[in-house]
Symmetry: C2
Amino acid sequence: MARADYPQPVVELIAELKRLPGIGPRSAERVAVWLLQHKQSNPLELSESLCRAKEQVTSCSVCGFFATADGCPVCSDDSRDAQEICVVEQATDVLPLERSGAFKGFYHCLGGKLSPLDHVTPDDLRIAPLLRRLEKTPKVEVILALGADVEGEATSNYLAELLASRDCSVTRIAQGISAGGGIDHADELTLMRAMQGRRRVE
Amino acid sequence: MARADYPQPVVELIAELKRLPGIGPRSAERVAVWLLQHKQSNPLELSESLCRAKEQVTSCSVCGFFATADGCPVCSDDSRDAQEICVVEQATDVLPLERSGAFKGFYHCLGGKLSPLDHVTPDDLRIAPLLRRLEKTPKVEVILALGADVEGEATSNYLAELLASRDCSVTRIAQGISAGGGIDHADELTLMRAMQGRRRVE
């Protein structure tokens, strides 16, 4: 007697789903079965969405954010402040900043952060395109909005040093306690940064 | 200035992914971005897998397990014991039982369990096909392998009563402490069932 298993197309679907980030073998099985059995599932719609997104979505050659045939929604927006370029790690970092409403300039996505252990060197990041942008637009403010982890800090320091001699001003977003967060929940390093970055109350 | 957002195809992909079970808005976003940006992702392969599975996989008209054009892998296996039919809730319950290797008969998937609160009545389950199967194969052992929750218990009791007058024997899988589990971690009801189901050591 052969032990019964899912039919081959289901096994293949589970294998594909299992490769997605954050989806383990059991979730993959659950999602596959749901897609095939649930009344409200629509696997063909998902399939088409995947094709459409893959075909139509590219990366903006200037800033690295998502772009389509219509161009990049950020770079094509003339109402933005051309004197501010915010440097972020990934294209996905743009949206949280946009949602905050605190920044109205342009972006530059590096495509990662320096990480010698993962063999990510300055050449792997979009640093050369950033320098070319700065040559075309002198006297801009370059705002470093990279993560506060070790690699993010290293990348920020590297860029700050690299840009020091260029015709631009360089700033970094503040580190401190998060909105709504109590002192008792903040870690020591965060509190140290918050203390160092304190500002006069006016 | 318009706040930048993902291009429409990405927004649609995220919306489709968000509908999957166990995938929230943030995971959906992460998966979509990974599919579009990661070198090892293969969205078109996933898309094709979905179509193939949806097209080729059906439900076996006899037992309710997954079937393809080649038929049902369980029902078409002549080496199985025709004198045993194991009743489970869902098609997905078949695989854990198959993997345990403890059962070598045929299955019958009900497609759910009795649940008056969710308007699931006996008519909504594959009970009539079960009765027709039993008429064709007299004197089989019907093994009830339904869940030990309230609805599973109710369904087991309903089936046991319904089948009492038929030409078959009815058994239920044992309830007790799980393999590798200590007494201190088992809940009271499980311990009660384990005690009631105790067997003489031989």
